[in-house]
Structures are given as C-alpha cells and as structure tokens.
C-alpha cells in the first residue's frame, strides 16, 4: 500500500474533525483501478501496484461462474469497494427490491469498504435505460432523493456513497446549482460523496459554469473517493466516454480537488478501448505523483497547510 501520503495527511487533519467523523469515515485506500475482466489474469498472476479495486456491482450480480470465481480470488488480496449503476436513487419509480437484495448478497461476499452509485435515475415504468440520467435540482427532487437515500441506507445497513454524473442538459426549473443540491443531500442524509473529477469537468464545459465553483461548493469532509477518467471532446460539448486516458485539464482539476479535499481514495475508470494493465498502472502512478506533489509536506511547512478546507 502506498498510503504513507494519506497517513501523514490524515494525521494532520484529525485535529479539525469531530470524533464522530473520525469514527465512521471510511479509510483512505490509496490509488486504485476499476476491476475489468481483461485484467483478471494479470492481477491474479502478478502483484501489480494497485492499492485497491473498484468492483462494478452489476457485473457480479450473476448466479456464478468465472466472474464470481475471479472476484473471490481478488477480494482476498485487495481492499475493494462496490460501485453500481442501477440503483436509480433519483427515480420516481419504486425501488427494485430484488436489486437491493442482490447488492446485500454481493456485499456479504465482497465486504466492500463502501458501496457507491450515482446521483441520477435510470428509468421509470419498469424500464431501465442503462444510462445515468439527469434530474432538475429542485427542492421537490431533493426531498424525494433524501427520502430514498435514507431508505437505501437502512436497507444496506450502511451509509451510501453517491457520485456526481456527467450531464449534457440542464433544466429550466432547477432551483439551485448541482453542488448545492449535493451538499444538502449529504447534510440531510449523511451519505458520502464520490467526487468524479472528470464528470465535473464535462458538466462544467457542457453547461458553461466554472468547475471550481462546483469544487468549492462541495463540503470537503464528505468526499471519500475520487474518480478519474477520459472523455471525448465533440467540439461544442464533451461526452463522458471512459475510452481515453485522463486529459490534462482533468489532471489539473484533480490537483485542485486534492488541495481542497486532502487525501481521498483515488481510482481511474476505463470502460472502453481498455489498454493492457501496465498502461493503466502508468496512469495510476501519475495520479500518485501528482497527489504526492500536492499533499506531501514541503520543506518547513506542515502537511496540507493552507490547502485543505474542512467545510
């Protein structure tokens, strides 16, 4: 584990946290990757420098066979978190109870450090559009999502972690910016936040707002995970495709996120044009180096001095 950066930094932050936060905040895991079937064998045969892995929940909500057999071997060796795409937390359709049962069953197997999904909806009327769809940021929607998060947290017996999604449209009836909606959501439910740096970049570009306004609008003490990923620039808009390496502009925003949020478990997502594991490890090493630059104490200065704000 390359967590020396985190241990030092967490120690320096502990003086400004409440005892409750120290108790329930999930641990800093270091630098991880999304587990992809293309890399199973390399991970099992080798001992790659990955601190932790993010497991896509739905890929393992199957009866048995190779996916679960590989998963069992990998969770024995690496700390894992579960990341889903079908919770549909913001949907106005009733929850799929079978899906929640499936999450619980998988969690028993994986013993994840946390379970995350997205602040979005995926369909209504029994349909799943298999996309992370946007919502209007209204007080009505906030009340609705708050009640749903409470329900899921009760059902899973743990705090949920929710991710901001990339969006391509906004809605006239929104009554607050996305970051305010997210801040209120975490304040009212105690859910943790997965801050997807690329998604902030994509949405900020598509809607013409300042990514730093988003960054600074999120309470610093609720973010427990970062996502980094590549996107496709279509000229007038950007699509969150996860099929490229992380872009320079996103690395820059990541550095700013590290300054604001401190050491947060970081992982790189790749879902298409998946390169060999070695290439992903190089990219992950870049994240480590950037984080060390931002978080390591400079000569004569305490760790993170002046760089982290606890909201």
């Amino acid at each position: 584990m390359s967590d020396h950066v985190g241990q030092k930094a967490q120690a320096s932050k502990s003086s400004v946290r409440t005892p409750a936060e120290i108790e329930d905040r999930p641990p800093f895991l270091g630098f991880g990757l999304g587990l992809r079937s293309q890399h199973y064998q390399d991970i099992i045969d080798g001992n790659p420098a990955i601190d932790w892995l993010e497991v896509l929940s739905e890929n393992y909500m199957v009866p048995g066979g190779r996916p679960l057999a590989m998963l069992d071997r990998i969770v024995e060796r690496y700390p894992c978190v579960m990341h889903g795409v079908s919770l549909s937390i913001a949907s106005t359709a009733p929850f799929d109870e079978e899906y929640l049962d499936g999450l619980n069953t998988l969690a028993k197997r994986v013993q994840p450090k946390w379970i995350s999904d997205h602040l979005c909806w995926t369909g209504v009327h029994g349909v799943n559009l298999h996309d992370l769809l946007p919502i209007p940021y209204t007080r009505e929607a906030l009340d609705h999502v708050v009640s749903r998060v409470h329900y899921v947290q009760e059902r899973l017996g743990r705090q949920l972690c929710l991710e901001n999604v990339s969006t391509y449209v906004q809605f006239n009836q929104s009554e607050m910016p996305e970051w305010e909606f997210i801040s209120e959501l975490t304040r009212r439910t105690g859910c943790w936040l997965l801050f997807d740096v690329n998604n902030v970049f994509v949405s900020a570009f598509n809607h013409g707002y300042d990514a730093f306004a988003f960054l600074n609008g999120i309470p610093a003490n609720r973010v427990i995970q970062f996502h980094l990923a590549g996107h496709s620039d279509m000229g007038n808009y950007i699509v969150d495709t996860h099929d490229h390496p992380v872009r320079e502009e996103v690395w820059a925003l990541y550095k700013a996120a590290l300054k604001r949020f401190g050491p947060v478990s970081t992982m790189i997502e790749r879902d298409d044009d998946i390169p060999p594991l070695a290439e992903m490890l190089d990219e992950l090493q870049h994240a480590r180096t950037l984080a060390a630059d931002v978080l390591e104490p400079k000569k004569g200065a305490p760790a993170l001095a002046g760089s982290t704000t606890i909201a």
């Binding site: 009866p63 048995g64 996916p67 913001a90 209504v124 349909v127 391509y168 009836q173």
Partner: protein
Amino acid sequence: MLLPWPDPLRLPKRGIDMTLVAPFQEASLKLKDFQDRFQRAILKGDDEILGHIPDGPRETKQNLLGVYRDAYVLRLIEVLGTDHEQLRAYLGEKAFNDMARVYIASQPSQHPNARWFSRGVPNFLKASEPYSRHPIVGELASLEKALNDVFDGADAPVVHLSDLAAFAPQDWGKLTFVPHPTAMLLDTHTNVAAIWTALKEEREPPSATTRKEPTRLLVWRHEMMPMFREMSVEEAMMWEEAAKGSRFDNLCELIAFYDDAEGAPARAAGYLKGWLEAGLLSKVVSPA
C-alpha cells in the same frame, strides 16, 4: 390570486438565471412528470421535454438531448453485439445493427443488469420477419444465449470419475445422478454447430442447411469454460431420464430397448464415464 405559469420562452436560453426561475417554482414540472417525459423523449423521440431544457452555451438543446438518445441505442447495440458476437459476424455489421435497433425498439430493457437484455433475442428472431424465414439466425442466437447462460450460471459441486470408487460395484444399479445446473439440451434443426465453430475460428461458415429431425446439443460449463457438443439420440434419452432421477439400472434398461440389449450396460457405463469426465454431474446419490 392566480400565479403565472412559467413560459419556457421567457426563460434564459443560455445557462440558468436562478432569479428568473425561482418565482415560478410552484408551477414547475413535478419530478415524476419530468421523468415520464424524459423517458418518452429517449424511447419514443417525443420532444415535449425540450420545453424544459435551455440551450447549452455552445450547442442546441436538441443536439444535447440527442446525446442521451444516441447513447441509449448505441449502448444497447454494444450489449447485444457482445452477447452475440458470432451472430454479428454472420449477419455483418450493418444487418446486425439494423436487427438490434428493431429489437431495442420492440422491447426496452426491464432488468437493472444489462447482462440480461439480450435474453429475448432468440425468440425475437424466430418470431419476426425477415429473420424468421432463416432458421439459422434464430438458432445461432439460441446457441450463443445458451453459452452465455452457462458462462455465469449457478455454481455447484462437480463429481469426478474417481469419486465413483466410493460406491461398491453391487450398488451401482441403485445410483441416481444430479446434473450440473448449467447443463442444458438444445434442440436444433440446422447445422448451427458447424456454422458457430467456423465463425469462432474466423473461417468462412458453411451454407446453412436445415434438417427435419432435431440435432441435440448439450451445452454446459467445464472448468469455468462454456462448452457444447452433439449428443446422440440414445445418449440424450438416457441423459434426460437420469436428470429425472432414474436409477442407473433403469437407465440401462431404457437404452436396452432402444438398441442392442446385450451391449446396453456397457454403452450406459460409457455415457456415464463421459459425463463424469466432462464435469456434467453435480452429485451421485446412493439410496442407502
């Protein structure tokens, strides 16, 4: 006092000006209605939701909504292509995509896991023109679905040939067998096995032929790998009977009726040995 309804035309075209939006909140679309319309926009091409979307700073709202519309179809075409790799190779990219679009339009996904979206493809192809006129297309999809299903089907113990040593030879007649839960028989009326194999090996597939009598394909999982092979009529008969819980001596009698009676026990023992070697049985049960 009457509250003014929000007029989308009066709202800013670029970005959101909260001071303009906030006074009209009472009349804003309820989340449920909003999601109904957004989903209709994606599934049916309905444009009503556009009245609630501002243009982006650089792109029209029509094109931005189009990102969701396109992504929906393209993502599901990709799912279908992954699950039906050989069908895609057989039909060719364009014909496969055309088929996929009709399938996607005809039955939206109803499962939280996209893994299950393609399950209806074989029946869709067998029931829909023009595919139904070409039985090979539906049978190729059926074989791929069976292989997908056994790939991540339920786990169960596997009995090995050496495990039979635990039973005294005089007790063999009483033994019953439990098939591995992934094992399934597929009845086919085309040369689908030969065509699938050629496609898998990236060879030119043979011409499709049809037969009146079914060819029985056994599909199962062995050491994490999906497998299939042809099963003779006699062996398939014994397999189906064994799966119902018939004792080994009854299985021998069954195939004695089918063919040479004298050689039946040896043939039955041969089939059993094959099943054990291929990991097809989960349990061998002795009544006492």
